[in-house]
Symmetry: D3
Subunit: 293 residues, 6 copies
């Protein structure tokens, strides 16, 4: 159950309007690694969790926090748009290149569709979609996805920090950067704890029977490009991080096996086959065959 | 530049047709964590890499291998479909519940659109889309995303392994499981190497100035749910994995700050405002204002 | 700010597993009119609201309730899947038509991607996307959209009610039906109150200057089909619901105006024009023109 | 059957080119509430209608009109683009900030993909998709959706009206505003008529057996946020609009019921469970179990 | 302008219900090459056409016909669903494997969302989207796309013909096959006529200045795979179809040129660079640089 | 199997940065007719091919070449972005209209998401999706689709050629234009060869039994619009290109057949029916019927 409280976790008020920046902030709301993604991702991971206790409690908590981050950003966007030129004409302002340039960099839909408000889309106007969400029921896989999401998200916030000099916006971003720092650390700690407790280990899933894996290929660093430096990394020799094997380097891919012959499906799929004159040659047979239908 | 070779990295031939399973295998081709995703992801990471040498060589190599995995799976799917019932009627087989059940579980588009062939879609028929790809230019963020992708991918292969008993299919899956084992280890090794070399560290991005972050929130485990066990994890006390801070636990979210007042954009956005009788009250003014337009 | 509580608003436990029905319930989670849609829609309407007070409070409250409905349904789906056959083979069960039929009707991704869990998708596996959300800043338009969403949603719940006889599932649906009844009534009451208070009226937006509308067409029921009965409705004669005009019936569309001549854009767009021999005829001129570039 | 006539319902010729505005008009063609949406929505409602006569005739008629509106807008867009700068360079115009600003605000695909023409996309270039369409077979639900669509659409036209001062464009918009006025009224009249005739009533669907609904929750205004003003509305006390119940206000959500325990699916889904040492502990059993496969 | 007529171009009535087949027919309504695609494609090509006369008239006419084909198919789907089992339970029919199998093969949304009606989606439930539409303003390119669309469409109809033995359905398909035959021929005739009249020629666009093309590569059949037979085709030697060059065969791709060095964008993008200790090394400089912001 | 080589087929280095043009080039990478589309399309056609030999070899070869074209374009985009203003502020440059205009025309995600790199999206930021791919197993249909794709692609390159005067960019485009010239010719040659060899002919699929087609409609040019010139084309009279029929012109669509009556599905779908008082009238019966459930 979710309860809503009409306060914000942190101050979210810009010093001045900026519709171009409002469009950029949409990335943090509805982008691939925006706040909607992490809110929904942690929610579904919690609902699909198979263990009660600390891990699931952590998921529920962080999910709820992230919905509040969507709220702070949406609130910020609305204020950035409140008094900003977005194309509503008055006299001849469109002839002013400065105004024209600003209008060119705004999100038309924030104006025309939302009436100067935030939208659940990214900075290019792509609607957020659930294809961004990861929730597999395997917590080590999912926590690793969460570390990744927080890293990508914090990188984007850091980039956006340098795209404005509004103190109010920067203040909010400094808070989001801090929470992303915490969440990166949190998920990494959780992933380590899962392994320390032996709940799940590398490679994920760790309890798939080794005997059913083609183990001779499990630690081979095969080079499919012609870069000479691939072999210099720790992935090409020495012990693998999972502690179960030793990397070997294969400089060129083995020849492989011949492709199986092309398929010849039922002729009623009308694919092109290697019997050039099928119509003539098999006319009788085909007609017989098709008569039934 | 990419060169193609008409052999497969590993044998990909089923023992018998199985159109229902062919649909399931689509997940590994065109799903969120299918082979198209990793092939494209590693390619774009390589093209966006800012350092020559071992890391970029590794990306180019693995990208090329993954395109070959798409090929093996597409080849497998075509063979699973080759002689399988997919709805082409002959006599009255549709009345046979076994056949009807099989037809119900197949992907109609593999039959009607591809003519008994593989498609760049997932097991629900969603076309693959580039929203699945992550490539930020920050290698620690991206390698972490790659570890995650390989974990999710291997988990799906393991699940699919138990959904067939065809020895030919299982043989191919045992190979993919092994390569996923390698790739999980490989990206983890690479992520560690980046950190060991000081190229990039936690939190990502590591060279964002700490002074610009609201550091008092950077290590707070705030509980937004009512689970009692969240505080038991290593994310709620003790040193954070980045080595730069100490976790503290906050049992209930602080009250927060008041929401800013709602925005009142230009009346020509026709949003609903708190001036109930705007039409009557401001009729004159509005008309004056609008006369110009 | 959102807070999470680890209880459910209503009991959500099925009597027995049913993976086929689990797929159907996805429609109520991630479909066009599923709970994610209304939760997100009411949230964005609240964040884009321009008036403090009862309307915005109502939006915040209902948004939070709907996120809890997503949770109840996701919990239900996980339980329906918990012990249900989803394709994991054991012995030869796939030859059993009953089991094969069940497997054919399940969502492969609930098994392979989520590991027997719920997903933010609809019953055909389409990921939820924000293109379903409506939030314009105009409350009468938005509340009308909300009435519509609740009507569509309740209709779908009612249909799904008849597709199961599991008492546990039906119990949850009976609760959702009741809440949808309330929410239909609630938004209708709110839409009426907006009008009663004169905040917003028909036609929306109500304060757009009438003089700028081509008013001769504002109440014409023009028949673009050949149905004879269109004129029988209250939309073809008598006073219009907005109280500002009188409907008239136009039995056949007037002839209209000639289409403007086709455009001839710059030849460097390489569109096909009506100057058949452009290459020869204008070669010299084109070459001169292009020399500069 | 549809027949086409090479005239337009209304004049659609701009006074001067304006590629930036051409991009904005795309919202009315291919946006969520653009003309393609209503044309397709009314068509599918007509095809899914279960009653012959006035309601279906109305749907067919309005659908056909809306396809003609797509045509008028596409024609307008092509003319706005015909002689407008869209990035085709000549000399050094790109250095002129005015031209650069214009080019920045245009839709690149209108130029590069369509060759200076309209496209079935919205103002952010998102392709129109059928996820925008509502057609349930329940006419009261669908007509309410239609009222909503016309309200949203008219609001967008009104906003766009203020974003241009081209008399030709404004003339077309004044016509569309008028037709949207009519269609809002029309669908509202039709929705009322359905109810007056007892064909369908509130709550939709109205003939779902009341006894199967958890009626104690059907008129409860439960406050899930902390806004104090929610209780002031007509949705919190007094008779509900459906005439079947009386609203009551619940100031805080009841505690709810405990969540069911997390699910533990078959171990071959490789979800993380609460048996930390499953690999070691159950190795023997798992191996026995897996031997069969 | 479009006018609607309440008759169908051809009879569209099945002999008996078949919900599984209704789902399959969706491919012809809302699939990549379904009737919505061609109706919209020909419409946009007409609106973007730059020549009045026969070509544009042809586009308008065919577009209108195709909208009528959508209608016939939607009508057919509704009838196939009318009395078919779609999951509405009565007694214990779900235990009957035949019924279960049928339900497994149906489109849940045709039942739950449309109430036993057609939807603007394909056979996997993907909503139709405008990314399927091609309309470039270049008629030879577009007519070639149309030939392709009609070929793919007719192939799908032919496949579907063999997936039913219902005489009513087959009757409608036999009509669609005939119209597809006509339209394939029509667009091919139109493409030839464009070339015969010199309006547009191969290669498209034909009036791009040859001198600006790297002509030494314009007729080289370069083999990027290791297939030995590529050189046997008419594309590897002899005159090219455009009459302007002679094919030559290049057995192996030339070595190519070195890749440019990786980019090093502004450090505030936080990409990973080859300066491992940037934080320490440049701390002073970075701090100076960042002080301004 | 794919192998990668760290050289480019052709030089891909711009003379100077240009972030606005970098956005435009995205169309050639991730657009409907960009290089990802053709690379994936030719790959899937090869994997779905049913004949070994020259046609399949050609598909494999061209697919591999196209992946290399994606690489060249991605490399170009990264360099165009390397030193270009993309919104990272320094002092007050945003007040400079020239810079503001440039920033307005760039792709925000190339900066914020990719860190000044290329992305698998089009020029409006739409992620590439597999709905663009055509691969049917019928080679004449597919080669025709390939001709179309190369025509559209070359037209877009030609348009983009005129949108820059950077010699380095133009050099790369001149190479792509040449390869598109070759590929147009190649697929046309292949399509002709298929027909010359009798492998596949017009209409596609050519071996569908003529007797099952409603042949009286196979060569009728029926005019559904009111354009007078449609009848002037070679598609309205004379022999059809397939050599199997003679075109006839039908000036007005025949009346058609009456629509079947609307469907009346099971009342538990809660569609609106023509029994206005169903609730009252059938209350008893319905209750009886529903009692079982």
């Amino acid at each position: 159950m979710f309860l809503h409280k009409q306060t914000l976790q942190y101050k979210a008020t810009p010093e001045k309007p900026d519709a171009v920046y409002a469009r950029k902030l949409q990335e943090l709301i509805g982008g691939q690694y925006g706040e909607i993604t992490v809110a929904m991702q942690y929610s579904f991971q919690a609902w699909n969790a198979h263990i009660p206790g600390k891990y699931r409690d952590l998921l529920f908590s962080t999910a709820a926090e992230e919905f509040g981050h969507v709220e702070m950003l949406a609130t910020m966007v609305a204020q950035l748009l409140e008094k900003a030129p977005q194309g509503i004409t008055e006299d001849a302002v469109q002839d002013d290149p400065t105004v024209a340039a600003i209008v060119g960099g705004t999100d038309v839909q924030e104006a025309v569709v939302a009436g100067a408000g935030a939208r659940p889309v990214d900075s290019n106007g792509n609607p957020w979609n659930a294809g961004y969400v990861t929730a597999s029921g395997n917590l080590l896989a999912d926590f690793t996805s969460n570390i990744s999401a927080e890293m990508q998200g914090r990188t984007q916030v850091a980039r956006l920090y340098h795209m404005t000099d509004d103190p109010g916006v920067r203040d909010l971003l400094s808070f989001l950067l801090a929470r992303d720092t915490h969440h990166q650390n949190q998920w990494l700690a959780a992933a380590r704890e899962l392994q320390a407790e032996g709940v799940e280990e590398m490679p994920v899933p760790s309890n798939f029977p080794k005997s059913k894996e083609a183990q001779e290929f499990s630690y081979q660093a095969i080079n499919f490009s012609d870069g000479e430096h691939m072999q210099e990394g720790s992935w090409a020799s020495g012990p693998a991080p999972d502690g179960l094997g030793e990397f070997t380097y294969v400089a060129t891919p083995p020849d492989g096996v011949p492709m199986p012959p092309p398929t010849r499906p039922d002729s009623r799929f009308y694919g092109t086959t290697d019997m050039p004159n099928i119509v003539e040659k098999t006319a009788g047979a085909v007609q017989d065959k098709l008569k039934k239908e």
